[in-house]
């Protein structure tokens, strides 16, 4: 090992008696803390979280919890080890002083750090009209409290549920409602469910799944207003096509907003798209200079990925939170030569209408899609997305055991269309077709992957002067 003899001992000092603060006490924050302790960090560790709960798992909230198979307040994450942390729960971080290395809390306290990890994640995008959003019976679904409230509302047998937005969460909610025997209408601005994340070819399959399960699916429409009764309970929604949907539960499922407001004015490169960081999870400041002591992980991070043209990816994925937290924690406690890049291949899953949907890679980068195995009409297939002659992503419906193979194809930049035959190839897999993603300039519920930033490969920068 190099290190102790040639360096100034700062790292050893940090590991022995340094102060590490983690803002965000959810999946990424917890796993990072565990990795730090695993790596021998013996100093003080402070976990700051705005929710009053210890870290819990969110995916069950739109599935098991809504079906009544699990209880919202029994989803705490299992620990891999003890982390011996000072927990500050139920208190949001409200500010950051980078020069003094201090985090300000909502209760006026200040916490000093030697290394800071920001894992503040995202929150549900609220209904744009606050008054309408306040109506009883209107929900979003992100937190444990949201899940508990929505579960109770569904258990009360509402006459109809309206889900606004047919992304993954909205579709899973609609699926759970149907399984409970509830009437449900889904209103989606795009041409089909999941269209932002998987394109219209797959979106059409998702639309058929909704309709087969007797979801009243309305696409190409927006909800323009929610209407309450005199008691302040929601009773109906008005749609852009002039129709009205009567519903006593409305779930607003319009994607997420990044929790970066608390960093405004701090000098950190944080904004509505997240916090920009390098591949080693170190945050950029507003000047585009990488910091040495502030790291980012999870949904709030956007980092360049070598496999995808160094585009800055924001990934709202469970697996990304775990992997990026691990990398950030490792790098926070390593000399620069020992640091690792975060090179996790994006992957996610969704379970809806009894079908297991899984994906690897970055589907929205794909311009073409080829059904390599199985058939869309049978809801059991594997499809690969092509981008500039290479495999860039894959999706499976009830066919996930093939996914690791396609992940290898993505990692090795294999050619698209694949030059080999595949098991269970059907006539529809003879030729790639356009993947048909919506125009990114048209707002939709928001894909789960956001491509942003510029690529060092094409060196394009646009300077927009302030007015």
């Amino acid at each position: 090992m190099t290190g102790e003899h040639t360096r100034d001992g700062a790292l050893e000092h940090l590991k022995r008696e340094g102060r590490i603060v983690i803002v965000g006490a959810s999946l990424a924050g917890l796993r990072a803390a565990e990795t730090m302790r695993d790596k021998g960090f013996a100093g003080s560790l402070t976990m700051i979280g705005d929710e009053p709960y210890e870290p819990y798992d969110r995916p069950p909230l739109s599935k098991q919890v809504l079906l009544g198979n699990a209880v919202a307040d029994h989803t705490a994450l299992p620990r891999r080890r003890a982390i011996d942390a000072d927990w500050r729960l139920g208190v949001p971080a409200t500010g950051l002083d980078m020069a003094a290395r201090r985090v300000r809390l909502g209760n006026g306290d200040e916490v000093e750090y030697d290394r800071l990890l920001i894992a503040t994640g995202v929150r549900a995008r609220p209904w744009p009209n606050p008054e309408e959003g306040e109506l009883e019976g209107v929900f979003v679904l992100r937190t444990r409290d949201d899940g508990e409230g929505l579960q109770r509302a569904l258990a009360a047998n509402p006459r109809r549920v309206l889900v606004i937005g047919a992304g993954f969460t909205g579709s899973e909610i609609a699926s759970a409602c149907r399984e409970r025997g509830l009437k449900v209408t889904v209103a989606e601005r795009g041409s089909a469910p999941l269209v932002g994340a998987l394109g219209a070819v797959i979106g059409e399959v998702a639309a058929e799944m909704h309709r087969e399960h007797e979801v009243d699916l309305r696409t190409g429409v927006m909800v323009t207003a929610l209407e309450g009764d005199p008691a302040g309970r929601v009773r109906a929604a008005h749609l852009s096509d002039g129709s009205t949907v009567e519903a006593d539960v409305v779930v607003v499922s319009l994607g997420a907003q990044r929790n970066t407001e608390w960093l405004a004015g701090s000098g950190l490169g944080a904004g509505p798209r997240g916090i920009a960081c390098d591949a080693g999870c170190r945050a950029f400041d507003v000047r585009g200079i990488v910091t040495d002591d502030i790291y980012v992980a999870g949904d709030v991070a956007r980092s360049p990925h070598a496999l995808f043209g160094y585009q800055f990816l924001s990934l709202e994925h469970w697996g990304n939170a775990v992997a990026q937290a691990d990398t950030a924690a490792h790098n926070m406690l390593s000399e620069s030569a020992d640091r690792r890049p975060h090179l996790w291949v994006p992957a996610f899953w969704s379970s809806q209408f009894g079908v297991n949907i899984k994906s690897v890679g970055v589907p929205p980068m794909g311009t073409e899609i080829l059904i390599t195995q199985g058939s869309l009409s049978e809801r059991r297939f594997a499809a690969v997305y092509g981008y500039q002659g290479r495999v860039i992503a894959a999706v499976t419906f009830d066919n996930c055991r093939w996914l690791p193979f396609y992940e290898q194809q993505i990692e090795s930049t294999a050619p698209f269309p694949p030059p080999f035959s595949t098991v269970d190839r059907r006539p529809e897999g003879n030729k790639p077709v356009p993947a048909d993603f919506p125009d990114p300039s048209v707002p939709t519920h928001g894909p789960t992957i956001t491509l942003s930033g510029y690529s060092p490969a094409d060196r394009k920068m646009t300077f927009t002067p302030g007015r």
């Binding site: 069950p60 599935k63 029994h74 994450l77 620990r79 992957a347 899984k358």
Partner: protein, 87 residues
């Protein structure tokens, strides 16, 4: 007893659903639903499910009480113990 399944890693082999049917259930052909906080009396079944998972996707945390009964086994078994990098 807290547990979480890394569903990126899960490939729907359903061994857990056979061995601990009160905690794990298949939903359709390939999706897995599970109770993230299983009752203490499920401990042995869940431990078998963790051991039988072909892809090591189940992360289990046992309480002190569970530990007292089990003896020398690790408190934590399964996915992510050590690496944390789910693939």
């Amino acid at each position: 007893m807290r547990l979480v399944v890394d569903l990126n890693r899960c490939q729907g082999y359903a061994q857990c659903a056979f061995l601990a049917p009160d905690v794990f259930a298949m939903h359709g052909d390939e999706s897995l639903l599970y109770n993230p906080e299983a009752a203490a009396e499920q401990r042995e079944d869940v431990a078998r499910a963790v051991a039988a998972c072909p892809v090591g996707a189940i992360l289990l945390e046992l309480t002190d009480e569970d530990m007292a009964d089990i003896g020398s086994q690790d408190a934590v078994a399964g996915a992510g113990a050590g690496s944390g990098g789910s693939r």
